[in-house]
């Protein structure tokens, strides 16, 4: 009995930090509709600033709590800075574009934190007066656990009072329900948003600082918390603080009891919960269905036009350069070295991966946060066939798109029932489940030791042969995807995105169509995975990680989701920048800053650049028509 009670209380206390972080994320999303990936970084900053503040303030019990609050306020102000300097300038950009900006912020914060606090983990200071343990029926429970158990309901109550008893809170609630109406009422949205960013970020900072006596500060905290925070927000229902509270407790308790019964479940449990909740309650426990047209009204996409002469010429030129590169390598190896071919192979693979994701994200309007499941899933399908059947490349290679397609059929069946952020989060949940199966099932997949020895057959094993093979598959893949978008299939897909109401009213079974598109996209991601696994000679669970999914997401968004050239430009730019910067010591800072700069300069994505200035100079784009559309579409 004592064991049970103490385990229960332990679960409740571990829910506390999770709730604080998740409630902040939920508030920010509810009002601004920004999926703030940098929220985990704010949590990390809360911890680091907390350690510094406790040392600086000193002075026993009072000093400790003053320092914790100071850390929260400081992080809140950092959130404000991010809002004013960055987010405020891109609210009008396409939905989810802000996501890349926050991703840039993550990278910058990582390096700044490393630079300020160094690489060694910091152990958190203990809370004066709460360093011991209480004994409950013969079982010991740290006193600080009781503090944490008390904090969540207190914060929840405080937030309730704020939102229900103050004018500001009422406005925030109104904005959560209908942003346009609030601005129609003449409320200054800017300061409302700034205030919300302060509150949300301060809660993340508080979460990071308040867990110090249980842990400390380290450089991996940001990524470690962010997935869990999203799970809590989604399970609770986006924008619902009560839901976040409930979900944090649910997950806290499930984790605590779960690892006693299934010690191996640590990786998968949370995402299983999220998948189950979303399948049965598509808007989370306490969430409400999205009101259509709630978010920013986006400028409509311009109609699809076949490639003009200029663009065909540019495409032919790029292709010619690609085909001639190995020749140049043989002729002048000093200028065109072997590694350039390696780099181009890498770039081409990610171009195909990004284009596959774009297929459902752009024309389909379905944002997947878990596309690495198909990239990595395909790579594993091929590698497993090599490992267990010793299949030659000519056979195993095809297992990748086929395996990825099967996986996409399975995941897609559940996912297409949802829309928007919930769709995205369910793809993330499935990707994580797939990842943890691969990670955990060592006997078959090799766990995180991966599968080695997946090298091409002899005829393709030379660099130049594999280069041509990659270029061939990627170009064919891109043309096929493009062809499908210009075919009735692509039109129907866009129809479902433009107006689900109208699409259904002309006999289109949208969900089924999206399911097919999801499968096609998965298959092409799997094809990219096949090229990847044979170019690296090995595959590891890393290829199915969240980070890999975000790579693709970033490429599509950075390139411009409304353009068919977007994923090509985005993947090329990002892979190349990554390679360029990674030789430098603070490359994350540089990459993050570059991403932020690009976001600010080019809110339509990199392809937006091609569509406007450069394109008009070179006569690539059609002259701006009187249609008033932004000319986002430049088919390649």
């Amino acid at each position: 009995m004592g064991e049970f009670i103490v385990t229960l209380l332990t679960g409740l206390s571990s829910a506390a930090a999770l709730f604080l972080v998740a409630s902040g994320l939920s508030i920010i999303f509810g009002v601004t509709r920004i999926v703030n990936f940098a929220h985990g970084s704010f949590y990390m900053l809360g911890a680091y600033i907390g350690v510094t503040a406790v040392t600086a303030v000193g002075g026993g019990a009072v000093g400790f709590w003053v320092a914790i609050l100071l850390a929260a306020v400081a992080v809140g102000l950092i959130g404000v800075a991010m809002e004013i300097l960055l987010l405020r300038r891109i609210y009008r950009a396409p939905e989810l574009f802000q996501l890349i900006a926050t991703f840039g912020v993550i990278l910058v914060i990582q390096d700044v934190t490393l630079w300020i606090w160094g690489s060694e983990d910091l152990v958190g200071p203990r809370a004066p007066g709460f360093t011991g343990a209480v004994t409950i029926l013969g079982q010991r429970l740290p006193e600080y656990d009781l503090v944490l158990i008390a904090v969540s309901p207190l914060v929840l109550a405080g937030l309730w009072l704020l939102f229900n008893r103050t004018r500001w809170g009422t406005l925030v609630r109104a904005a959560t329900l209908d942003r346009q109406m609030v601005s129609a009422l003449g409320v200054n949205q800017r300061w409302l948003f700034t205030g919300v960013l302060f509150l949300g970020s301060a809660l993340a900072g508080l979460g990071g600082a308040i867990q110090l006596p249980k842990g400390g500060a380290d450089l991996l905290m940001d990524f470690n918390i962010i997935a869990a925070a999203f799970v809590v927000v989604v399970v609770g229902g986006m924008g619902s603080i009560g839901g976040a509270f409930l979900a944090a407790i649910l997950i806290g308790l499930l984790q605590t009891f779960g690892i006693q019964i299934f010690p191996n479940s640590t990786l998968i449990l949370m995402f299983l919960v999220m998948a189950v909740v979303l399948i049965f309650r598509p808007w989370g426990l306490l969430g409400k269905p999205e009101i259509p047209g709630h978010g920013v009204v986006e400028a409509p996409e311009a109609p699809l036009r076949p490639a003009g002469r200029g663009l065909r010429l540019a495409g032919a030129l790029v292709l010619a350069v690609l085909l001639l590169l190995p020749v140049a390598h043989l002729a002048v190896p000093a200028a065109v070295d072997d590694f350039l071919l390696v780099l181009v192979i890498d770039i081409m693979i990610f171009v195909l991966f990004a284009a596959a994701l774009h297929f459902i994200m752009g024309p389909g309007g379905m944002v997947s946060f878990g596309h690495a499941a198909f990239f990595g899933g395909g790579a594993y399908a091929a590698a497993l066939l090599v490992k267990f059947a010793e299949a030659p490349m000519e056979i195993a290679f095809w297992a990748a798109p086929a395996g990825a397609a099967l996986l996409a059929i399975l995941f897609g069946w559940f996912c297409v029932r949802l829309t928007g952020v919930y769709f995205a989060m369910l793809t993330l949940a499935f990707a994580q489940i797939a990842w943890s199966i691969v990670f955990q099932w060592g006997e078959v997949t090799g766990g995180d030791d991966g599968i080695l020895g997946t090298w091409p057959s002899d005829w393709a094993s030379s660099r130049i042969a594999y280069y041509y093979m990659t270029v061939g598959f990627v170009v064919a893949g891109l043309l096929a995807l493009r062809r499908m978008l210009f075919a009735p299939f692509g039109y129907t897909l866009r129809a479902g995105r433009d107006s689900p109401l109208r699409a259904a009213a002309i006999g289109i079974d949208i969900k089924r169509h999206q399911w097919i598109a999801f499968t096609i996209s998965g298959a092409f991601a799997g094809l990219a995975g096949a090229l990847f696994v044979y170019s690296k000679g090995s595959v590891f669970p890393t290829e199915m990680e969240i980070a890999r999914s975000f790579d693709a997401l970033l490429m599509v968004l950075l390139g411009g989701v409304h353009s068919l050239t977007g994923p090509i430009v985005g993947a090329t730019a990002l892979t190349w920048l990554n390679d360029l910067f990674s030789e430098l010591s603070y490359w994350r800072f540089l990459l993050g800053a570059t991403i932020i700069a690009l976001v600010l300069l080019l809110p339509d994505g990199l392809a937006g650049l091609g569509d406007t200035w450069l394109a008009r100079r070179l006569g690539l784009a059609a002259p701006a028509s009187g249609s008033g559309a932004n000319g986002q579409e430049t088919p390649a």
Partner: protein
């Protein structure tokens, strides 16, 4: 508006030309380049000391005139903690920087990816720190060698010591939920069971790496009522586990064995909360009395104004191994270097080291002892240096493990 685009295009052009300029480095005839890959952004706490140790060795070697009349050049690159990235960087080092060999890496999966790559590209790879047993056994290949004592060796050392404690019969384990953790537990169980058939393993906990829910794990371990606990957690997991376990009284009256727990990387951040009385592997750098180590320690502190971590000594030894190998090979031809690596012996600050010809594993050992608190800091006492050679399987057994 236009200014904006001109600006962007200008930035893009600038970056492009920079990239082209950097792509054609000159290859000096009087240098030997070593391409070193490690997880500098993912786990800087461990890899930065490694790089410092390596650079110190390179500087000393060059000051003494280099090797084969050439200077050693240390080209250090980040793998971002991703195997795919590591392979790409290895390609770049090989074809663009024209390195003679590749060294480094900390994570096992990255080590394995590089080993597979080394075999395919017929390039020598000296794995510095990845601990996976598979690297030299199940997945071993002709081009891959490893310096640091593997998971199996370190676990076997601890198990041999732990077996001497007759009162510890019920064992529980806790290890991060990934290959290293699983291997470390399996090796420990295997060796301990062999030495002490009377022990039972009552349960295992597997927290996610760097995602431990310490309170819950401690509760779960307590519920198993063990006499002894074998801990493989490290880094931030270890800090949380130790704090939670102590507050909840988990460690009281139990024998606790900690793999790597005594390494400065992991015990130092705990400061005065470092565990006391644990049987651990580690690196008691303050107390190692051999002249060779004293010389290393003084040089390291003079060069970096900091004390060495286990990563430092591994980095240092790695470069010493490369120096010895080059001398023996007399060339940077890969086949000759591989031949030289087999059976290579050299003297390191930690003692003599030999690379076994049978599995390419070095005999570098580990320091095993008991944790203690000294001047508000955790360190080791009653420690001894155990030579790795005594904890490796016999040649016959190894041949079976190494399929090829």
């Amino acid at each position: 508006m236009k200014v904006k685009y001109v600006l962007t295009a200008g930035v893009a052009l600038g970056v492009l030309s920079g990239a082209l300029a950097s792509s054609a480095p000159a290859l000096a005839a009087d240098e030997i380049k070593i391409g070193d890959i490690n997880s500098y952004t993912r786990l800087p706490a461990h890899t930065v000391p490694y790089r410092r140790g390596a650079i110190l060795a390179i500087e000393e070697i060059n000051k003494a005139g280099g090797v084969l009349g050439k200077k050693l050049v240390f080209v250090s690159r980040d793998d971002q903690g991703k195997p795919g990235e590591a392979v790409k960087v290895a390609e770049e080092l090989r074809s663009r920087d024209k390195v003679a060999l590749v060294s480094g890496s900390l994570f096992s999966h990255i080590g394995l990816a590089l080993a597979s790559w080394a075999k395919q590209r017929k390039t020598l790879y000296l794995a510095a720190e990845p601990l996976a047993d598979a690297l030299v056994w199940a997945k071993g290949n002709n081009y891959t060698f490893r310096l640091r004592p593997s998971t199996y060796m370190q676990a076997a050392m601890l198990a041999a010591e732990a077996a001497k404690r007759k009162d510890a019969k019920r064992w529980a384990t806790i290890a991060p939920n990934y290959a290293y953790g699983k291997d470390a537990v399996a090796a420990f169980q295997k060796v301990l069971k062999k030495l002490r058939p009377d022990v039972t393993f009552v349960g295992s906990q597997w927290p996610g790496l760097f995602k431990i829910d310490a309170g819950a794990e401690v509760q779960a371990l307590a519920a198993m009522k063990p006499d002894a606990i074998y801990n493989v957690t490290f880094g931030s997991d270890l800090a949380k586990f130790v704090r939670e376990g102590r507050t909840r009284g988990l460690f009281k009256g139990k024998l606790i064995v900690g793999l790597l727990t005594g390494e400065p990387e992991y015990i130092d951040p705990l400061k005065d909360e470092a565990p006391v009385g644990w049987l651990v592997t580690g690196y008691p750098w303050q107390d190692i009395d051999t002249p060779a180590h004293k010389k290393f320690l003084a040089a390291y502190q003079a060069r970096w104004n900091d004390y060495p971590r286990i990563g430092s000594i591994v980095g240092y030894n790695t470069m010493l191994a490369i120096q010895a190998m080059l001398k023996k090979a007399g060339s940077t031809d890969t086949d000759k270097m591989v031949a030289a690596m087999k059976g290579l012996s050299f003297d390191a600050p930690t003692g003599p080291i030999t690379f076994r010809a049978v599995d390419h594993q070095s005999t570098m050992g580990a320091y095993v002892g008991w944790t203690v608190l000294k001047d508000g800091k955790g360190t080791m006492e009653r420690w001894q240096y155990l030579d790795g050679a005594n904890y490796l399987p016999s040649v016959e057994e190894t041949k079976k493990l190494r399929k090829q």
